[in-house]
């Protein structure tokens, strides 16, 4: 591949701001001196610009339009009004401008208070969400403690496989009650529309689906498995990437697995 070809091939990626590393540095260095690549970049840029429209049109609430117009009105409205006004109007205008400024500052204060109210409302919502999350976490943690406390519960480690080498997992399971919980870490966020699915493989060698989950933002997860028949005598526990609704048998790449010794 000639150097020019290489750069021309980088243009579509550059138009999406997707270049990084050496490619980005090389392309940035090459671009200013190459009319051909500039034209390519512009053409791909137009195509990329149109991608935004695929999201569809969602009208914002009317208040947003008012905020926009208030913001731009506040920066230029008065300057424009005074540009070519006859002299005899000046006194009246000064009075009007004073009034306008008063109104404007009242309006600004009101806007600021509204902004603060909105910010507070957002904080309350956030706190509520946090409480709900903590409550869920507490329920899970108690379940885990109870399961670990039972003398017949056993532990099986799951190692990260090629698609997720950093992933680690521990399955705590109880053959008598068929309860099981997975503690995992080092998982990447699942690609859009996908989720992780847990599988229990017992004597039949047919993987039984045992729950779909999304890891938390820090890559960890604590999942209670449904009671699956084969948890009575499991041979292997595994995790694969599947469509977000889950699959009946594994279709995606295996990210973690561990055999029962």
């Amino acid at each position: 591949m000639s150097p020019t070809d290489r750069f021309r091939e980088l243009a579509p990626l550059a138009a999406l701001d997707a270049l990084d590393g050496e490619d980005l540095l090389d392309f940035q260095e090459h671009l200013p001196g190459c009319v051909e690549c500039q034209a390519e970049l512009a053409a791909y840029g137009e195509a990329a610009g149109r991608l935004g429209a695929s999201a569809g049109s969602v009208p914002p609430p009317p208040a947003v339009r008012e905020r926009v117009l208030a913001t731009i009105g506040a920066t230029t409205g008065i300057r424009r009004a005074t540009s070519s006004t006859p002299r005899w109007w000046l006194a009246a205008l000064a009075a009007a401008a004073g009034l306008a400024l008063g109104l404007l500052s009242a309006h600004t204060r009101l806007e600021r208070m509204r902004e603060q109210t909105r910010a507070l409302e957002r904080e309350v919502d956030e706190a509520r969400r946090e409480v709900a999350q903590l409550r869920d976490a507490l329920v899970e943690a108690r379940a885990l403690r109870d399961l670990v406390a039972r003398p017949e519960s056993r532990l099986t480690s799951l190692a990260g496989l090629k698609p997720a080498p950093r992933a680690r997992g521990r399955m705590i399971w109880n053959a008598a009650t068929r309860e099981a919980m997975l503690l995992a870490s080092g998982l990447d966020a699942a690609p859009p529309g996908q989720a992780y699915e847990i599988w229990v493989i017992g004597p039949s060698s047919r993987p039984l689906p045992a729950g779909v989950f999304q890891p938390r933002a820090d890559g960890s997860a604590l999942v209670s498995l449904p009671r699956v028949e084969d948890t009575a005598s499991p041979r292997t526990f595994a995790v694969t990437l599947e469509p977000a609704t889950g699959s009946a048998s594994p279709t995606g790449p295996m990210v973690m697995a561990g055999g029962v010794s």
């Binding site: 149109r50 991608l51 429209a53 969602v58 409205g77």
Partner: protein, 171 residues
């Protein structure tokens, strides 16, 4: 395409006509908002982005260069970049989106959007997904490779081929 009207409005905005910005807003706010919602999945953040976009249009209308793309593409570029800034900030704080929003498919779908959706839909899944991760999630080629568990070279080829087809279909 309302481009010629939008061009006229941008010229009037450059001269400082407030009403022109109002009209320009009415033409493009849904587009900017739809895109911000799709990227951020958060109602209040998406509204803030719309506000930032049109204040930026007001301040920078003079910098708009018709030779470099349609007004619609320009609005999308600004909205995407503002929304991705927020998404990256959120990622660096590891926050979840706030108020959950319905999938963007619920928005009104103008003809232009249908054409773009059709073009995207005609791509093989792996190309479409790679292009969408770059455009809507602001991921770079290496980040996409990591996310998809694919070699970097494969991901670059997918994005390049996908973009070549989109360029053919859309421009």
């Amino acid at each position: 395409m309302p481009d010629s009207r939008a061009h006229g409005l941008l010229r009037r905005i450059t001269r400082g006509e407030h009403a022109a910005l109002g009209e320009f807003y009415d033409l493009h706010a849904g587009l900017a908002h739809g895109l911000a919602v799709r990227i951020l999945r958060d109602a209040s953040e998406a509204e803030d982005v719309v506000q930032e976009v049109f204040v930026q249009v007001w301040r920078q209308a003079g910098r708009y260069d018709p030779g470099r793309g349609s007004p619609e593409a320009w609005v999308c570029t600004i909205a995407r970049s503002r929304a991705l800034d927020r998404l990256r900030r959120r990622r660096s704080r590891r926050e979840e989106p706030g108020e959950a929003l319905p999938a963007p498919a619920s928005g009104v779908v103008p003809d232009t959007a249908l054409a773009v959706r059709a073009a995207l839909g005609s791509l093989p899944d792996e190309q479409r997904m790679a292009v969408e991760l770059a455009y809507f999630e602001g991921l770079t080629q290496s980040e996409i490779a990591r996310r998809l568990g694919q070699p970097l070279g494969t991901v670059k080829t997918r994005i390049r081929t996908g973009m070549m087809r989109l360029r053919e279909a859309l421009t």
